[in-house]
């Protein structure tokens, strides 16, 4: 099994929740200067629940598919639940082993979410 299996490619080609929100409560964007992947996540949060989420940006299959999967996962959930999401949850969503370089791509969306939603600057990400 390799990185370029159907499910990932489907998320890449037809991403869920792609776009931006006009009046988000939370909007945050980060990039990975090593490969130029860039992701922005917009959230609307009502009573601790994420009612709307969009992501935008560009990059490789892994970074974009992971962002798409993450937005599906968090929509409708409470921030408290979302706060518990870890590196391993993202890897479980992707479901295939990744090397260290692609790991950074996979975790970019989670990094953006954590930094935006909780102000966790410098989240250690892959070292967690």
């Amino acid at each position: 099994m390799n990185v370029y299996q159907e499910e990932l490619l489907d998320h890449y080609e037809n991403p869920s929740n792609y776009g931006t929100l006009p009046n988000p409560n939370i909007s945050h964007e980060e990039d990975n200067p090593l490969c130029g992947d860039r992701i922005r996540i917009d959230l609307i949060v009502e009573d601790d629940v994420i009612t709307e989420v969009r992501f935008s940006g560009h990059g490789c299959t892994i970074s974009q598919a992971a962002a798409s999967m993450l937005t599906e996962e968090i929509e409708g959930k409470s921030l408290t639940e979302v706060k518990k999401l870890s590196r391993d949850d993202i890897l479980d969503m992707i479901g295939i082993p990744l090397g260290p370089v692609r790991l950074k791509c996979a975790l970019l969306a989670l990094k953006v979410l954590k930094a935006g939603a909780y102000g966790i600057k410098g989240w250690p990400g892959e070292e967690e």
Binding site: Y4, C35, H58, G59, C60, T61, R102
Partner: protein
């Protein structure tokens, strides 16, 4: 070029020296600008050191230490011959090109560069021939100036005359671009730099492994390269310097081996090359590099160059057949070494490399440690294939087919732009 002077490479025989290719399907290793594979004779030479005369060099009063010293110094002589250095002691063993350049920046730079002095670079430098000069400029107040490139990826030579003034103390330039493959006209750069009294450092990491480089003919002041890009092991690099410069320069790293005598407060330093080789060096790796020099010179550097040119020409032709593929760098293979950088429209270079990997083809994708050049090319990253003496026309065909499959897989529907 007259090819009757030498035998063409016997690529099949060469490949038999590399066990890594004995897989099914064979690995198509096209990332040689990053690091090359190691042939058996090089590994065996290093094994022989470990198995039969493993010891430290220069100080042992026993037979195997003398043997290790002799082998280490033989390697230095082989490297000196390879680049036609007048004397073996002008060859300093370092860890790699990066360390060689840092040695010059710290030792020569600290002694010779002052506030307001100018250091001329090109926009296509590898970070290893850029960051050491940024650090030197920050320490001293010197100014960095950059020669630009043309849209075709050639050095804009007209800028050289503007940049070279009496304030110029140093020109640091790559012989061959690790991204574009461009072979820079360093002979002319060196002549022009010397005319204003500037010294020249040549980053030869991408040239010495691939064609004959003669430091006396070039008249360069310093030249740096790495063992691991020329069939040698990692952990061994080379700095060549002009004798009078190396002799005047203060030490770089302090420690064992580099001293003559040590008192509590001061020391006097060893003669060249020991002055710049503090601590126990990479002994096995130096010996391995000596054998790597034998390996590529036995194969014949001129034949190697012709072989790489053939691969490059063929790769240019095949890759141009793919619609939506942009090639970077000189359009004529004659102006470049065996490096080909490209991007596939709508596909991130990481994905290009990732899909090719699933077909047993290893290429590079990223910024190639040349971020200012990426900015100049207005790209985030590129994919890059680079060749060496063991690569074949069939591997170029596999690259072509792999790219066609990548395109088919990754652009099944017209999706949003990947930037």
């Amino acid at each position: 070029m007259d090819t009757s002077q030498f035998r063409p490479l016997d690529v099949e025989r060469i490949r038999a020296d590399f066990p890594i290719f004995a897989t099914t399907p064979p690995l198509a290793f096209l990332d040689n600008a990053a690091s090359t594979q190691t042939p058996r004779p090089v590994v065996e030479a290093m094994d022989a050191y470990y198995d039969t005369y493993r010891s430290n060099i220069h100080r042992g009063i026993y037979r195997i230490s003398e043997e290790a010293t002799a082998q280490y110094e033989t390697a230095r002589e082989k490297v000196a011959q390879l680049v036609n250095a007048p004397r073996a002691r002008q060859i300093i063993f370092t860890r790699n090109t990066t360390e060689s350049i840092n040695l010059v920046a710290y030792s020569w730079g600290s002694a010779n560069i002052q506030a307001g002095d100018e250091i001329v670079l090109t926009v296509m430098e590898h970070h290893s021939n850029l960051v050491p000069w940024q650090l030197l400029a920050q320490r001293t107040g010197a100014v960095l100036r950059f020669m630009e490139i043309t849209d075709e990826g050639l050095l804009d030579f007209t800028q050289l005359q503007d940049h070279l003034t009496e304030r110029t103390k140093l020109v640091a330039i790559g012989h061959v671009s690790n991204v574009l493959g461009t072979i820079n006209p360093i002979q002319s750069v060196i002549t022009a730099a010397h005319a204003v009294g500037a010294k020249v450092v040549v980053d030869a990491a991408q040239s010495v492994p691939h064609f004959q480089v003669d430091v006396q003919q070039l008249d360069c002041d310093f030249l740096a390269f790495s063992g691991h890009k020329m069939c040698g092991p990692t952990g061994i690099g080379v700095l060549y310097g002009k004798l009078e410069l190396l002799e005047e320069m203060p030490p770089f790293l302090g420690g064992g081996s580099m001293i003559r005598s040590v008192e509590r407060e001061v020391s006097s330093y060893a003669e060249l090359p020991a002055k710049f080789e503090a601590g126990t060096p990479s002994i096995a790796e130096a010996i391995g590099l000596g054998h790597a020099v034998d390996y590529i010179t036995d194969a014949n550097l001129a034949a190697l160059q012709v072989h790489e040119q053939e691969l490059l020409k063929y790769a240019h032709k095949r890759l141009k057949e793919i619609e939506g593929l942009t090639l970077y760098g000189p359009s004529s293979p004659h102006q470049k070494a065996g490096v080909i950088s490209f991007n596939m429209e709508g596909v991130h270079p990481h994905d290009v490399a990732g899909v090719l990997d699933t077909h047993g083809i290893a290429i590079r994708a990223g910024h190639h440690c040349a971020q200012p050049l990426m900015k100049r090319l207005d790209v985030i990253a590129t994919a890059r294939a680079s060749f060496y003496l063991y690569n074949t026309i069939e591997e170029v065909d596999r690259l072509y087919e792999g790219l066609c499959r990548t395109q088919k897989l990754m652009t099944r529907s017209q999706r949003r732009s990947v930037g």
